[in-house]
C-alpha cells in the first residue's frame, strides 16, 4: 500500500460512504479550521492502517479544586501529530433528560470552538456532554467559560459520577416519579462527592421512570432507581377492544408474555390479578392507550450494577422493593449516606459497591446500613446449608432450662 500523502485518509474516506451519518465527516468538517482535528484524522488513519490505537494512559490533569471531570490523554505519535500530543476530554454535566435550547447548544459550541477540538460526544455513556480533546493549558479557561454559561464538570475517577435519567415525566406517560427533578437534586446535593473523588471507586446513579428502564440503570449504575406502582393497573376497556379489533391477540400477545400469567380476557373484559402483577410493563407497552400504571407510585431501588472488570458483570439487586420518591428525598439521601459510609470504611481500593456487597454478604451489608432483610431482595433463599448462625446456647443459659423443662 502506498504511503498516503500528508492529508490523505483513504481508509477513513471509506467511512464517509453509506447511509449512516459519518463521524469521519464530522471530524473532517472541523479539520480545515482546527489543527487538532487535522492531526486526529492523521493519527486515526494510521490506526486504521496499522490496526491499533496510539493513545497513552492518561496522566492526572484537571481544573483547580476538582479531582475529576477531565480525562487526560496523550499521543504516542506526538512528533508526527503534535496537535494531538495532548488531547484531554472534559466531561460536562448534562441537564437532566438531555433537554436543550438552541441557545444553550450554541453557547457550548462557542466555548469549545475557542478552547478545544470542536468535537463532542452528545453524549458520553454515563450521560455527560463530552468535549473531546484539548490541551492542558486550555482546561482552566474552558472551565471558566463553561461556568459562565451555567455548566459545570461531571465526574471521573473514584467519585460520584454524573447521575442521569430517562426523559420521564417530561415526555412519557409512564413515569412513576419525577426522574428529572431527582437527578438534578441528587447532582446538586452531592456536588462535593462529584467533584472531589473520595470513594473507593466510582459510584453511578441512574433514574428510570418505570420498569422499561430506558436509561439501562439496572445494568449500568451502582444505584438504580426504577419507578413502579403498588395499586391496580388502570384499564380502559373500550380501548382494549379497539386494540383487539386492530389485531392484538390477547392470548398470544399479552397473556402468554405476562411473566406471571395474571392477565385474562373473556372476549369482553380484560382482568388483571394485580396482586400477582410484577409490574413488568409488557401489557401497558403493548396497549398504551388502554392500560396505564396505577396511581400509588414510587420506585424500586437496586444496588450494585457494573461492567465485568474484574470479578464479572453485575446487574443491580433489590435493596428497597418500594419507596415513595418525593422531594426533598430525605429517606433516599439518608440511605445513600449510610451506604457511602459503609463503603467508604470497608470498600477496598477499586471495589464497587456491588462487589463489596458480594464480599461481605448481603445480610451483613443490610445490617450495617440498617435495612431489614426482605424476601423481595432475593431471587430465592439460599440453597447451600452453610449458614453462619450467629448465636448459640451456652451451658447454663436460660434457654437450656426452658428447653429441658418438659
Amino acid at each position: 500500500m502506498a504511503d498516503p500523502g500528508d492529508n490523505a485518509t483513504p481508509l477513513l474516506d471509506e467511512l464517509e460512504k453509506g447511509p449512516w451519518p459519518s463521524f469521519v465527516t464530522e471530524i473532517k468538517s472541523m479539520a480545515s479550521e482546527n489543527k487538532m482535528c487535522k492531526d486526529l484524522l492523521g493519527q486515526l488513519e494510521k490506526s486504521y492502517r496499522e490496526k491499533r490505537g496510539y493513545w497513552k494512559h492518561g496522566g492526572i490533569v484537571g481544573v483547580m479544586g476538582y479531582g475529576g471531570g477531565v480525562i487526560g490523554r496523550y499521543s504516542f505519535l506526538a512528533e508526527e501529530y503534535p496537535n494531538v500530543a495532548h488531547f484531554h476530554t472534559l466531561r460536562i454535566n448534562q441537564p437532566s433528560g438531555w433537554f436543550y435550547t438552541s441557545d444553550a447548544i450554541r453557547g457550548l459550541c462557542d466555548v469549545w470552538e475557542k478552547h478545544g477540538s470542536g468535537l463532542t460526544n452528545m453524549h458520553g455513556s454515563t450521560g455527560d456532554i463530552v468535549f473531546l480533546g484539548t490541551v492542558t493549558d486550555e482546561l482552566e479557561p474552558t472551565f471558566a467559560e463553561l461556568t459562565e454559561h451555567g455548566f459545570d464538570l461531571g465526574g471521573s475517577g473514584s467519585d460520584m459520577r454524573t447521575p442521569s435519567c430517562c426523559v420521564g415525566p417530561a415526555r412519557c406517560e409512564w413515569a412513576c416519579y419525577d426522574t428529572l427533578h431527582l437527578t438534578n437534586d441528587l447532582t446538586q446535593t452531592f456536588q462535593d462527592e462529584l467533584h472531589r473523588p473520595a470513594f473507593p471507586y466510582k459510584f453511578k446513579f441512574k433514574m428510570a421512570g418505570c420498569p422499561n428502564d430506558c436509561v439501562a440503570s439496572i445494568a449500568r449504575s451502582d444505584m438504580s432507581i426504577i419507578g413502579t406502582w403498588r395499586d391496580d393497573i388502570r384499564i380502559d376497556q373500550a380501548e382494549v377492544k379497539k386494540y383487539v379489533d386492530g389485531g392484538i391477540n390477547i392470548h398470544k400477545d399479552i397473556y402468554a408474555n405476562c411473566p406471571t400469567r395474571c392477565i385474562s380476557w373473556d372476549g369482553e373484559t380484560l382482568t388483571i390479578d394485580n396482586a400477582n402483577c410484577v409490574k413488568c410493563m409488557h401489557c401497558i407497552n403493548a396497549m398504551p392507550k388502554a392500560l396505564r400504571p396505577g396511581t400509588d407510585r414510587g420506585a424500586t431501588i437496586l444496588l450494585g450494577a457494573k461492567a465485568p472488570i474484574v470479578e464479572g458483570a453485575l446487574l443491580g439487586s433489590v435493596l428497597v422493593p418500594f419507596i415513595k420518591i418525593e422531594p426533598p428525598y430525605t429517606e433516599l439521601k439518608d440511605l445513600v449516606e449510610r451506604i457511602w459510609d459503609f463503603w467508604g470504611e470497608h470498600g477496598k481500593n477499586r471495589e464497587r459497591v456491588g462487589e463489596l456487597i458480594q464480599r461481605v454478604g448481603l445480610g451483613n451489608f443490610l445490617e450495617a446500613i440498617e435495612v431489614e432483610p426482605l424476601p423481595e431482595m432475593v431471587a430465592h433463599p439460599r440453597e447451600n446449608p452453610y449458614v453462619f448462625y450467629e448465636e448459640y446456647f451456652e451451658e447454663g443459659d436460660e434457654d437450656e432450662e426452658e428447653e429441658e423443662d418438659e
Partner: protein, 358 residues
C-alpha cells in the same frame, strides 16, 4: 483357604427374581392406571395385567418383618416382591382378587398402603442416632413423627401432585435432601470443640487445617502440644473438620437441631430439576416427638396443598406465587440466614424490578 473364598461375584442377577409376568412383558408394558391409593395396574401390550400394591416401610426392618413380607409374597404374589427407590415395599400381583386381602394383612401388620399418584410417599432418610457418628438429629424418629402426622396424605390421593419429603441427619446429606419438595436437615450450630489432648495423636494437623472451607482453623500449640484453634466467627458448621478428625467434636445437644428446606425436585417433568431452598434455619431437637418440626412441615404442606395448581410441585408453586408470599402464607420469618452468602451468593439476589407490591 483364601483360594476357596468366593469374591467379586457381584450381585445376584435380577432376572432370577423377576416374576413370570414381568419376564413375559419385560419392556413391553403399554400403560398403567392408578386404581386406588397404593394400588396400580400395569397393562402389557399383550393385555397382561400386573397389579402393584405399595406399602409403607420404616426402612429399618428386622428380619422378623422381612420374613413376614416374604410370607405375604408367597401367599399373594407367587413369592415375588420388590422395594422402591423410596424404600417402600411393593407386592406384585397377577390376581386382582388378592389385592384387598393383601391390604388387609398389611394393615394388620401396621403397614399402611399408599404413596402412589398424588400423594406423599415415604420419607427418604438416613441413619441418625441409630448408626452414624455425624448426626445432628435422629433420622428414623423424626421421620416417624412427621409421617404419623402426614399419613393421611400417604393413604389418600388428595394432593395437587407428588410431594417428596426427605431427611438427612447432617450436611453430608446422604439422600436427595438437596432436591426435595420438603427437606428436613440436621444442623450443628456450635463451632467444633477441639480435644487438644488427643488431636495431635489422632489427626494430621495440616489436613485438619485444610479441611475447613472458610479457613477458620489455624494451627496452634496448647499446653505445649501442637493442636488447632477455630475462629468461631468464620465457622459455618459444615463439620468437614470433624469428618477428617474425630477430635473436632461438633455435636452439641444444646445447639444441634433441624432446618427445613423447600422447593427442590429431581424429575424433568415440566420444569428442570431444582435444589431445595432454605425455609426455616433452625428448629430445636425436641425428642421424642419433634413437635416443632412436625408442625412446620404440616404448615408448609397445607399451604402448598391449598394453593398449588394440579401437578404443581412445591418449587413450581413457590416460583409462581413468589417467595415473599410463601413466607407470608406460611408465617415463616425471613431473616438474614435466608440470604445466601456462599460462593455463588450474588447470583441469588433479586436482579430485576419484577416485583409484587402487595
Amino acid at each position: 483357604m483364601v483360594t476357596d473364598r468366593k469374591t467379586d461375584i457381584g450381585p445376584p442377577n435380577y432376572e432370577q427374581f423377576l416374576p413370570p409376568i414381568v419376564k413375559a412383558n419385560y419392556g413391553k408394558w403399554k400403560y398403567h392406571e392408578v386404581l386406588k391409593p397404593g394400588v396400580m395396574v400395569h397393562v402389557g401390550e399383550s393385555g397382561d395385567k400386573l397389579f402393584t400394591v405399595r406399602a409403607a416401610s420404616p426402612r429399618l426392618l428386622s428380619i422378623t418383618k422381612l420374613r413376614a413380607f416374604a410370607d405375604l409374597a408367597d401367599k399373594y404374589c407367587g413369592g415375588h416382591l420388590r422395594f422402591t427407590s423410596r424404600n417402600n415395599v411393593e407386592f406384585l400381583l397377577t390376581d386382582q382378587a388378592n389385592i384387598d386381602p393383601l391390604i388387609a394383612d398389611l394393615k394388620k401388620m401396621n403397614h399402611p398402603v399408599g404413596g402412589i399418584g398424588n400423594s406423599i410417599s415415604n420419607i427418604v432418610h438416613t441413619q441418625g442416632w441409630v448408626h452414624c457418628h455425624s448426626a445432628a438429629t435422629d433420622a428414623s424418629g423424626v421421620v416417624k413423627c412427621v409421617m404419623d402426622d402426614l399419613h393421611e396424605y400417604f393413604t389418600e390421593m388428595k394432593l395437587p401432585g407428588k410431594l417428596r419429603v426427605a431427611l438427612a441427619c447432617c450436611l453430608n446429606m446422604c439422600g436427595a435432601v438437596h432436591c426435595s419438595d420438603i427437606a428436613i436437615l440436621g444442623v450443628h450450630r456450635r463451632p467444633p470443640k477441639v480435644d487438644h489432648g488427643k488431636l495431635n495423636k489422632l489427626c494430621e494437623i495440616p489436613s485438619v487445617v485444610s479441611s475447613c472451607p472458610t479457613a477458620a482453623i489455624r494451627p496452634t500449640t496448647v499446653d505445649g502440644k501442637p493442636s488447632v484453634e477455630v475462629d468461631e466467627d468464620l465457622c459455618m458448621f459444615c463439620a468437614n473438620c470433624f469428618s477428617v478428625c474425630p477430635s473436632m467434636s461438633i455435636s452439641d445437644p444444646l445447639n444441634d437441631g433441624v432446618s427445613i428446606w423447600v422447593g427442590g425436585k429431581v424429575s424433568n417433568a415440566r420444569v428442570e430439576p431444582m435444589f431445595s431452598k432454605l425455609a426455616i434455619p433452625y428448629l430445636p431437637n425436641n425428642p421424642p416427638r419433634w413437635p416443632e418440626v412436625v408442625g412446620a412441615v404440616r404448615k408448609i404442606v397445607e399451604v402448598w396443598a391449598e394453593g398449588a395448581h394440579k401437578y404443581e410441585r412445591m418449587g413450581e408453586f413457590i416460583a409462581r406465587i413468589g417467595w415473599p408470599r410463601f413466607f407470608k402464607l406460611t408465617g415463616i420469618e425471613f431473616t438474614k440466614e435466608h440470604i445466601d452468602d456462599f460462593k455463588h451468593a450474588g447470583l441469588t439476589y433479586k436482579r430485576s424490578a419484577q416485583l409484587r407490591h402487595v
